[in-house]
C-alpha cells in the first residue's frame, strides 16, 4: 500500500556538452536574457506576495527556467502552448508582456485576464498561450485538442504541452496519448520533472520506470533530457520537435529539472533537505551555467552581462510598478465574460 522504495530503472538522460559556439551570440544573449527575465520576474512576484499584493496561490518557476526557454526556442509563431498553474515562465517565454502578467498577479484591470484569472489562469490568444490551468492534468487533453486543430487546419503549427511529474499519473494523460498516437496529432508532451508533486517525490508517486517511456505502449517515442542546461535542452529536444513538425505524431520528453522554492508560496518544504536544494542551486543553476560558459568561451565579457542584468531589472521594475498602479477591475466586470453574447 505505502510505496515501497524501489530503484528506478536508470534510463539514459540526454545531456552533453553542446558547443556554445554553434549558437550565434545574439541567440545566446536571447537565451540568457529570457532566463533572467523569468528569474527576476519570479523573485519580484515572491516579494509582492510577501507584501500582500498578490493573493491566493502563487507557484514560482525559479530553477526551471532552462526548460521553457530552451523548448520555446524550438517553437515557431503559430504554435500553441499550454501548461499548468506554474505558468509565469511559459507566458514570458511565449513573448507575453511582463506588465500584463504581473498585473494579473495583483488582480488588476491591466492584467491579461483583467484581474479575473490570477496567477494560475492567464491566456493570450495572440501569443498562442492557452493557459494557465489549475486542475492537475487538465491541460493535457486540452493541448491534444489544440494539436487536433493544427492538423485539421493544416496550418503547420504544433502544440507544446507542458505537464508536471505529478500530473503524469492522471488518467486523462493516457487517454490523450492514445488519441494523439492514433490520429498522429502534432504535439510535444513535455514533462517538467522537478522531482516533486507538492510534497511527494516521483519515487513515492510513480511506479518504477522512466517517465519518458510512459507513451511506449502507444508507440510514442520518448526521451529524457537534462533540463537544467538550456543548450542541452535545445540540442536534445530539437529532434523531438522536428519529428512532430514533420507530421510523424506525438513525442514525449522528460525534462529533469528542479524547483528551488516551495510548491506554492507557503509551503515550508519539509519533504526535502536544505542540502539537496543548495546543491542544485550551486552546481546546476541554469543561469549560472550559461553565464560561466559564455564567459569561459569569451562570447561576452562580464560588463556586457552586467548590462543585460541591469536592463532586465529595469523591465521587471516597470512591470511591478505597472502592476501596482493599474486599478482594480471595475465592479461591473463581475458579471461580464460568463458567456459570449449571441
Amino acid at each position: 500500500m505505502a510505496a515501497s522504495r524501489r530503484t528506478r530503472s536508470g534510463g539514459k538522460e540526454e545531456s552533453g556538452t553542446p558547443q556554445a559556439k554553434r549558437f550565434e551570440p545574439d541567440e545566446l544573449e536571447h537565451l540568457y536574457r529570457s532566463m533572467l527575465v523569468i528569474r527576476r520576474f519570479e523573485e519580484k512576484a515572491g516579494q509582492l506576495y510577501g507584501m500582500g499584493l498578490i493573493g491566493g496561490f502563487c507557484h514560482l518557476y525559479i530553477g526551471q527556467e532552462a526548460v521553457v526557454v530552451g523548448l520555446q526556442k524550438l517553437a515557431r509563431p503559430g504554435d500553441s502552448i499550454v501548461t499548468s498553474y506554474r505558468d509565469h515562465g511559459h507566458m514570458l517565454a511565449a513573448g507575453m508582456d511582463p506588465k500584463g502578467v504581473m498585473a494579473e498577479l495583483t488582480g488588476r484591470a491591466g492584467g491579461y485576464s483583467r484581474g479575473k484569472g490570477g496567477s494560475m489562469h492567464m491566456f493570450s490568444r495572440e501569443k498562442g498561450f492557452f493557459g494557465g490551468h489549475g486542475i492537475v492534468g487538465a491541460q493535457v487533453p486540452v493541448g491534444t485538442g489544440l494539436a487536433f486543430a493544427h492538423k485539421y487546419r493544416e496550418d503547420g503549427g504544433i502544440c507544446m504541452c507542458y505537464l508536471g511529474d505529478g500530473a503524469v499519473n492522471q488518467g486523462q494523460v493516457y487517454e490523450s496519448f492514445n488519441m494523439a498516437a492514433l490520429w498522429g496529432l502534432p504535439i510535444v508532451y513535455i514533462i517538467e520533472n522537478n522531482k516533486y508533486g507538492m510534497g511527494t517525490s516521483v519515487e513515492r508517486a510513480s511506479a518504477p520506470g522512466d517517465l519518458c517511456q510512459r507513451g511506449a505502449a502507444y508507440g510514442i517515442p520518448g526521451k529524457s533530457v537534462n533540463g537544467m542546461n538550456v543548450l542541452d535542452v535545445i540540442e536534445h529536444c530539437a529532434e523531438a520537435v522536428e519529428h512532430v513538425r514533420a507530421g510523424k505524431g506525438p513525442y514525449l520528453l522528460d525534462l529533469k529539472t528542479y524547483r528551488y522554492r516551495g510548491h506554492s508560496m507557503s509551503d515550508p518544504a519539509k519533504y526535502r533537505t536544505k542540502e539537496e536544494v543548495s546543491k542544485m542551486r550551486s552546481e546546476s543553476d541554469p543561469i549560472d551555467q550559461l553565464k560561466t560558459r559564455l564567459l569561459d568561451q569569451g562570447v561576452f565579457d562580464e560588463n556586457h552581462l552586467k548590462d543585460i542584468d541591469k536592463q532586465v531589472k529595469g523591465i521587471i521594475g516597470e512591470a511591478a510598478e505597472f502592476a501596482q498602479q493599474s486599478p482594480e477591475p471595475d465592479p461591473s466586470e463581475l458579471w461580464t465574460d460568463v458567456l459570449v453574447d449571441a
Partner: protein
Amino acid sequence: MPTQILMPALSPTMEEGTLARWMKKEGDTISAGDVIAEIETDKATMEFEAVDEGTLGKILIPDGTEGVKVNQPIGLLLEEGEDESALEEAAKAGQSGGSGNESGGGASDGEADSAPKTAPAAPKSGPAQPPVPSSGNHGAQPDADEPTYDSFKRQTVREALRDAMAEEMRADPDVFVMGEEVAQYEGAYKVTQGLLSEFGDKRVIDTPITEMGFAGLGVGAAFARLKPVVEFMTFNFSMQALDQIINSAAKTLYMAGGQMGCPMVFRGPNGAAARVAAQHSQCYASWYAHVPGLKVISPWSAADAKGLLKAAIRDPNPVVFLEHEILYGQTFDVPDVEDFVLPIGKAKVERVGSDVTLVAFSRMVGHCMAAAETLAEQGIEAEVINLRTLRPLDTATLLKSVRKTNRVVTVEEGWPFAGIGAEIGQICMEQAFDWLDAPVTRVTGADVPMPYAANLEKLALPQPEHVVEAARAVCYRSQA
C-alpha cells in the same frame, strides 16, 4: 538611501510573525535568493529569502522578536557603493514604512499551506469572522432538542476532524484514510496531522495525483467491506472522480438489489477559499445533494465536524462530507465525552428567534449568526438553523421554525440556480404555504465563476450585510 527589508507575509493571511533567527550578520553581503532569516508563521518556520542584493547594513528587529507586523522594516540593506553613513541618513529620515503597504491578502490557506489562517478563537472580529458561539452551552439560547453537555474542550475544526478519524480508526481496523499528501505531509491543510505516526502507512496512504483512480479504488474497497475515508485535497478535484462517486458509489446498492453497500466517506474542503479563483473556489453542495444514494453532510462548528464525521464513517452508505477551508482554524467548544457522535439528518437550531428563520450550512452559519446579532440590535429576532446534513434534509426542524416565524431567508456560497436555497424554498411552499408571510428569499454566491481580483471576489460572495438586508426585506422593514 538604504533599502528597507520588510517583514514578509509568508501565507495568504499572515498578519504578524516571529522573527526567529537572522541567518546573516550586519556587514554580510547578500545576493538575491540568499536565506536571510527564519520566520515563524502560526504553523511553520519559513525561510525568508533576499530579493535585492547588497550588504546587510543594520538589523532593526533582533532574533526571537514575536508579533512583528507584516511590512514592518526589519533591517536595512546597503546597495553597492553605500556605506555606514547612509545608515545615519536613514535613521534621520525616520521609519518611512516601506513601499506598497497595501493589503490584498485573502483569508485562506494555500494548497500546501496548512496554517489556521482565520485567527483562532477570535469570537468577534468584524463581518468576515462572525461570532463563534459554542455548541449549545452559551451564546445564543440553546435548542431544546439538543442534548446538553457538562464539559467541553476548545478545539479547532481541523483538530475535531482529525480526532474523529483517529477515534474511528482506533475503534475499527477496517477504517483507513487515503488521499493526496494525507500521510507524510499530514494533509495539505494539516487535517490528517498525526495519523501516519499513530496508524502507520498501511492505514494512512499517500496516493498519486489520480482522483478518479483512488476514488474508484475506494469504492471497490468499500464493496469488499473495508471503510475508506477518501480525502480530496479540495472538492474541486472531486470532479475528476465524479463518475466513481455517482455512478459507482451512489447507485450500486440499488442496482444490486441491496447486496452491495458502499460504506465510505469522501471528505475535504468545499466552497470558496480566498483568492484562488474560479477553478479552486466552488460549492458542490447542491451537486451532491441532487444524487439519491448519497448522504451529504456539511458541518459548521468543530462539534458538528467531530460528531458528524464519526457518524459518517460508521454509516453503511457513501457519505460526501463537505468541509470548509476557512473554518479549519476556527475554534469552538466540543463536548468532552467519551464517544461524541451526532445524528445524520438532523439540523440544529443555533439561535432561537421569533421573527425570521435564517437557514444555512457550513461557513454561512457564521454569517447568519453575525447577521442575527445585527438584526437583534434593530429589534428583529432571527432564528438560525444550521442544516448540518443536506441529504437527507431535516425538513421537520425547518418547517417547525417556519410555522413559528413565517419568514425564511436561505444563505449559501454556491450559485443560485437549482441550489440548496431553491430546494428549501420549494419545501416551504409545498409544506408551509399557509404559514408564509413573505416569499422565501435566497442569499447566494453571484451567478458567475469566482473572480480572482480582491474587490470582485468580495462582491461574488454572500456577506453578513446581505443576510441582514434580506431578513429586513422579508420582515417588510425599510432600509435602516
